[in-house]
């Protein structure tokens, strides 16, 4: 979609609620190099959300939406879960799929967009919880990877079914006792990042969302690799503070504790050879862009002084 089409009819501008006026005037659609640092200085692509106070998922959502390389040309596919409570509030095209069906929907969508808009960049990003990705939708998740579908799958891993009261999920850690799983989990956390690698994903990352610059980097990498090469997978730890007995302020610390080198969310990354080549090329271009922007700014300042 052209950014030019995102404008309000002049006669209607003043009656539009302010959040829509802001989306047109101050959002970062089409901005080169957009990223998490735009948060606070521009209109975010997420309005008020209905997640719990202090929920790390809300942080993750904000960072991801700020980091999408081309939000005006992106369609996100969600599924049942806490994430589905947020999608009605985002300023990016999105589809709510049946529980677990998200990667099948995204496959068809990506192919349809390629046919409908040949030669244009159209990113598809799946964003679902661990129940949808690993339990109910595992078949669809894996089949999309086997077929080398060119889109990114993001799993918000909170290690249980949060908004239904705390049932056991495949990504729950062994031995964990939840409200609706009182016996404790008897088998290991499913190793989906490893499965993703073996299933043909070209870029796989397992991390938390405690560091916004890291989230920005992995989101951009995953989307660029998916655009050019093949499927990519991000498993992001977004703990459910309510279900693990924490307070609103403790989500960030929980993530920091879980990303220590010996912990289950220590940063792990797999990049295929093709993807490495592409990312090196993109990094060089980005460096050039930044240098040119810096020079332009310096020239402008110099001209101002003169």
């Amino acid at each position: 979609m052209s950014k030019e089409r995102i404008k309000i009819a002049p006669e209607m501008f003043e009656i539009m609620p302010s959040e829509y006026q802001d989306l047109v005037d101050r959002a970062t659609y089409g901005k080169e190099g957009r990223g998490w640092k735009d948060i606070g200085t521009s209109k975010e692509l997420i309005e008020e959300h209905s997640l719990c106070a202090g929920c790390p998922e809300s942080m993750a959502f904000r960072y991801i939406l700020a980091s999408l390389p081309a939000p005006e040309d992106t369609v996100m596919v969600g599924s049942t879960g806490c994430t589905s409570l947020v999608f009605p509030h985002v300023g990016v095209h999105n589809i709510h799929s049946l529980f677990g069906n998200q990667n099948a929907i995204a496959s068809g969508l990506k192919r349809a967009l390629s046919v409908r808009f040949p030669g244009q960049v159209k990113d598809v990003v799946v964003l679902a919880g661990d129940g949808a990705t690993v339990d109910i939708g595992l078949d669809m998740t894996l089949q999309a990877w086997f077929r080398q579908e060119k889109f990114t799958t993001i799993c918000f891993d909170n290690e249980l079914y949060a908004n239904t009261g705390g049932q056991e999920s495949g990504l729950m850690q062994k031995g964990f006792v939840a409200k609706m799983a009182p016996v404790g989990k008897t088998f290991e956390k499913v190793k989906l990042p490893e499965i993703a690698r073996e299933s043909g994903c070209h870029y796989v990352v397992n991390c938390t969302v405690s560091k916004p610059n890291l989230v920005e980097k992995v989101i951009k990498n995953a989307i660029h690799v998916a655009r050019e090469i093949g499927p990519t997978y991000l498993q992001l730890y977004t703990p459910c503070i309510l279900e693990i007995g924490k307070n609103s302020m403790e989500g960030l610390q929980e993530m920091r504790d879980s990303e220590k080198p010996t912990e289950r969310f220590a940063y792990r990354e797999y990049v295929s050879d093709e993807a490495k080549e592409l990312l090196t090329e993109l990094a060089a271009k980005e460096k050039e862009r930044k240098a040119a922007a810096k020079k332009q700014l310096a020239d402008k300042q110099l001209a101002g002084k003169a």
């Binding site: 089409r5 404008k7 309000i8 009819a9 009656i15 539009m16 609620p17 309005e47 008020e48 009605p88």
Partner: protein, 204 residues
């Protein structure tokens, strides 16, 4: 005795039947319907204009298809809608309050919408109740969302509904036009102007 179902202001009941299921059919080109009865378009223009002039809070609800200038036609319709709103404002008495309230999109909004500044198709009754709107016109709202809203309004409010539809019209509106264009909206504004002073304003 006629047994034809009439699409009248509510509150009908919690789940009013879809007018189509009660035998109401859509008008052909050049026609409109009033309460489900197919009529000549000019006849419906007059009824719609009279409703605007006799309502305490005559309101236009423009939807995304005209709020966003996504093509030239949409921009022209927006200009015509603004003109219709200004005309209604000019032609009503000081005790009446014309309103122009947008339906920017169809997302269910939480925790709630602000009924003073917008209408949401999933609970249009909130905006109508809050502003005591007794006559309204939908324009630029996608058909399925308009059908949903018109039914909710008929079910839970006493508001008189008019649909200025760009497609084939709406059975669930009390008055429905079809094939809406900027010219058709301007024509409705002309009718409002023409009938100014000849319609009794609402009693307090």
């Amino acid at each position: 005795m006629s047994t034809m179902y009439e699409v009248l202001p509510g509150p009908e009941h919690f789940l009013p039947p879809a007018a189509a299921s009660m035998g109401i059919r859509l008008p052909d080109p050049g026609q409109a319907h009033i309460h489900g009865k197919i009529v000549n378009e000019d006849e419906a223009m007059e009824v719609a204009a009279r409703q605007f002039l006799s309502a305490k809070v005559p309101t236009i609800f423009p939807g995304p298809l005209v709020l966003w200038a996504w093509n030239e036609k949409a921009a022209k319709k927006a200009t015509a809608i603004r003109h219709l709103y200004e005309t209604i404002k000019e032609c009503v008495t000081p005790s009446q309050q014309a309103m122009l309230i947008p339906m920017p999109d169809y997302r269910p909004k939480y925790p709630k919408i602000n009924p003073e500044i917008e209408i949401n198709p999933n609970h249009p009754n909130l905006t109508i109740w809050h502003n005591k709107i007794d006559a309204c016109m939908f324009v630029g709202v996608h058909c399925h969302q308009a059908n949903l809203s018109l039914k909710i309004i008929r079910g839970g409010t006493y508001c008189y509904t008019i649909a200025m539809c760009a497609q084939a019209g709406h059975e669930d509106a009390m008055v429905s036009f079809r094939d809406a264009t900027a010219d058709k909206i301007m024509k409705l504004a002309d009718w409002v102007k023409k009938l100014k002073g000849s319609v009794e304003p609402p009693k307090d």
